[in-house]
């Protein structure tokens, strides 16, 4: 009987003491969606936070800025000054302004902070911008009929809608800072004139250092190498425009006299959207193949010059190069890498 009483007492206490004092309900939290980080006067960090505000008729958002010596204290300041509890667990996008991203050490430090702070989800996306961040964020409120989640929606259009848009997550960037064999590309965005965001391509990041810019057209190829489908991409071949309906990629790798060789077969299924009169299918196919091959070669040449392995070719050789030599991949092997890139297209 004593035990029963104790048990009942315990249940009573648990029921009435739990859940009410140290847990904040969702309506008592503000959920920042986008965080922008930039530098002021080359010294202090400026953190800009976009917070969606829920209202019956549509969502609008609020932009909160704070400046402090480092990012965490600036975020802390926002927490202190906010009227509700700030919950960073819904942050989906971190935008870094280029004056900060150009500095290798600071960028590394920042990514490490984002990765280890535990307050942020590490699968938030990372993007760079050249314009002041407030301008980008306030652009959401200026555009009519755009809701507060649009900045995040931009990167998640779903399969087949805009296959050239890269999405890079914080943990992927963090991983690439330690990887011997793979470098990462990070998308660049601008405020658009009529839309919220303009896609400006990407930058390659080699161990935290920016090495080259990549055109929006070229980012598609990187996604292809990440085994993401290129479905929906529209290519213009001059006298015709075609849409890629499906894509597949095949690699063969070998090391010939200590030099890595990759042969790549890209298979595209295309669908002709429009063409000038009298242009045969064969010609379209040939021209498209040539266009993509040239595009790749140009891009690869540049990447090789910069010793930035944006396609992650090093990954293919991890089992063929001794482990101790892997760290020499960028300097020793990559400049000698031979890539035989071939595109095969077929009509639907």
């Amino acid at each position: 009987m004593k035990r029963v009483k104790a048990l009942m007492m315990l249940m009573f206490l648990v029921t009435f003491l739990s859940g009410c004092w140290d847990i904040k309900d969702i309506d008592k939290r503000v959920l920042p969606l986008v965080i922008g980080i930039s530098k002021v006067n080359n010294e202090d960090y400026k953190v800009t936070v976009q917070i969606p505000i829920t209202k019956k008729d549509g969502e609008i958002s609020r932009i909160v800025t704070s400046i402090d010596e480092n990012v965490s204290s600036a975020l802390g300041q926002i927490k202190t000054n906010s009227e509700n509890a700030v919950d960073y667990s819904h942050v989906r996008l971190v935008i870094i302004q280029s004056d900060l991203s150009d500095n290798k050490e600071e960028l590394k430090q920042l990514v490490t902070f984002l990765m280890t702070s535990r307050e942020f989800p590490t699968n938030a996306q990372l993007a760079f911008t050249d314009v002041p961040i407030e301008e980008l964020l306030s652009n959401i409120n200026d555009k009519l009929g755009v809701d507060s989640t649009s900045l995040y929606d931009f990167f998640n259009k779903g399969a087949g809608w805009a296959p050239e848009i890269l999405s890079t997550r914080i943990w992927e960037v963090y991983r690439s800072m330690f990887s011997y064999t793979e470098d990462i590309t990070i998308p660049i965005v601008d405020p658009g004139k009529d839309t919220v965001i303009n896609y400006k391509g990407a930058v390659a990041l080699k161990l935290g250092e920016l090495t080259q810019r990549i055109d929006p057209n070229e980012t598609q190829l990187i996604k292809l190498f990440q085994n993401k489908n290129a479905k929906g991409k529209i290519e213009n071949v001059g006298f015709a425009s075609v849409m890629v309906t499906s894509s597949a990629i095949e690699n063969k790798t070998l090391i010939e006299s200590n030099k890595p060789v990759v042969s790549i077969n890209v298979k595209l299924k295309i669908h002709v959207l429009e063409r000038e009169a009298g242009i045969s299918n064969e010609r379209i196919k040939k021209d498209l193949e040539k266009l993509i091959e040239e595009r790749f070669n140009k891009m690869f040449e540049k990447a090789q010059e910069n010793k930035t392995d944006i396609f992650g070719f090093g990954q293919y050789f991890r089992n063929q190069i001794p482990y101790d030599d892997l760290k020499k991949w960028r300097e020793g092997y990559y400049p000698d890498l031979k890539v035989d890139f071939q595109v095969h297209t077929s009509m639907e």
Partner: protein, 438 residues
């Protein structure tokens, strides 16, 4: 024998419905005794007189009327209380217990009240134990159907019948149940009284027996190697042992095509899980782990909770308790008042509370879902215990969020898996046939 008549008269002197009628046969006075609340006196007298007319002597009359002659007084009293007619002759000290024409005190076979089967026969068990067993015999006309009858109780003797199919129900189980029934030394008023004798399960929320009102179901259970018990004056068959699957499987499902039957059963299982987890999921997602929501959903939930003064746990517990109160009230109320409560309750719970901004519209959806899903399982006692299970999970969820919810669910599964009835686990899928076919 004057003594016997006197003795009986004295014993029942304060029973107003006790009668003692004097009749003369062959100039021998005989007494007819009984309770006129149990015996149709006029018809019984007519019956005795008719037999008397064809009998030559008093002795022959007694033999014609009954095979129970010359009984001692104790048994006569027992027989009287059971509604028999006792005849005692004044002179030659003879007595007999006669099966009279009884008053009809049982309702006829009617439709089930606690279940509403579709595509199934719609007769239901009644109060009379013999009728109930008759309903089973009619469906299961095999010589392998065993029917054992017990009289149990301390003050009253209540009939308990045990049915199984020889060679189907496991021998060990039968022996164990018989032993347990023979141990009964108190009155069995309720199923829970009986449950006690089937093993230690004092604070268990799951009964050893599954109750069904439908003869079809009971027959099906017999064929599935179970034992079926009947209590006199209790219009349900008690199927021993109860298993978890009884909640989801109803034999009349098989009157649908197999695929549909399985879909229905899956739906019942989903219903049970939803009923247990949904309020906890709401609380944990709204107050502890909002990061589990997608952002659009998070903003929607956040908006729907704007201006609500209670924390999510209080809000949810209030609503869940209110709904359980409504359900309980509907059971208690007479049929004429029930709909009023339903309507008023519906308006208060659904509309007024939302408009007054006491609870969020999302919670009302959650509550509606659990009310509906709680009723899909078979057996009213099962739906009650499922309703009970969601409270501990709800409290765990309010403290530990999604983790607490799943830990709670895991513990419930562990608890259910630990239950046994006479060695047969509650979570078993089917009861093995270990009986020897005779």
């Amino acid at each position: 024998m004057e003594n016997l008549v006197k003795e009986i008269q004295n014993m029942f002197s304060d029973h107003a419905d006790f009668f003692m009628e004097k009749e003369i046969k062959d100039s021998t006075p005989i007494y007819l005794m009984g309770f006129n609340t149990l015996i149709d006196l006029t018809k019984s007298k007519l019956y005795v007189r008719q037999i008397a007319g064809t009998s030559a002597s008093v002795q022959e009359l007694f033999i014609n009327l009954s095979d129970q002659l010359e009984i001692d007084s104790e048994q006569i009293i027992h027989a009287l209380l059971k509604g028999k007619l006792v005849i005692v002759s004044e002179k030659d000290e003879r007595n007999a217990i006669v099966d009279p024409i009884s008053r009809n005190l049982t309702r006829s076979i009617a439709e089930p009240l606690s279940e509403s089967p579709l595509l199934s026969s719609v007769d239901a068990f009644g109060e009379d134990i013999d009728t109930n067993i008759g309903l089973i015999r009619k469906r299961l006309n095999t010589e392998r159907l065993y029917h054992g009858s017990f009289e149990i109780g301390e003050f009253e003797s209540r009939k308990l019948s045990m049915l199984y199919i020889k060679g189907k129900a496991p021998d060990a189980l039968i022996g164990e149940i018989k032993r347990q029934i023979n141990q009964i030394d108190t009155d069995i008023d309720t199923v829970e009284d009986l449950n006690k004798y089937f093993g230690e399960r004092r604070f268990s929320i799951v009964s050893h027996v599954f109750q069904t009102e439908l003869p079809n179901e009971a027959t099906h259970f017999l064929k599935k190697n179970r034992v079926v018990l009947f209590l006199d004056n209790y219009p349900f068959a008690l199927v021993f042992p109860q298993t978890l699957m009884d909640m989801f499987n109803v034999s009349s499902d098989r009157n649908y095509p197999t695929v549909i039957a399985y879909v229905i059963r899956t739906l019942r299982a989903i219903g049970a899980i939803v009923n247990v987890l949904l309020p906890a999921l709401y609380v944990s997602v709204v107050s502890v782990n909002p990061e589990a929501l997608k952002i659009d959903l998070a903003l929607f939930v956040s908006e729907s909770r704007q201006g609500i003064p209670f924390p999510a746990l209080v809000e949810t517990i209030t609503m869940v308790v209110l709904v359980d109160l409504t359900l309980e009230a509907i059971v208690r109320l007479p049929k004429s008042v029930g709909p009023t409560i339903t309507m008023v309750g519906g308006i208060i719970l659904g509309q007024a509370m939302v408009e007054a901004k006491l609870v969020s519209p999302l919670l009302v959806i959650v509550i509606t879902a659990i009310v509906i899903s709680g009723s899909v399982v078979s057996g009213i006692q099962n739906s009650l215990y499922i309703r009970l299970l969601r409270y501990p999970i709800l409290i765990l969820a309010s403290i530990f969020g999604l983790l607490g919810m799943f830990i709670g669910f895991l513990f419930i599964l562990v608890y259910l898996a630990s239950l046994k009835s006479n060695g047969i686990p509650y979570t078993t899928f089917h009861i093995n046939r270990k009986g020897d076919a005779k």
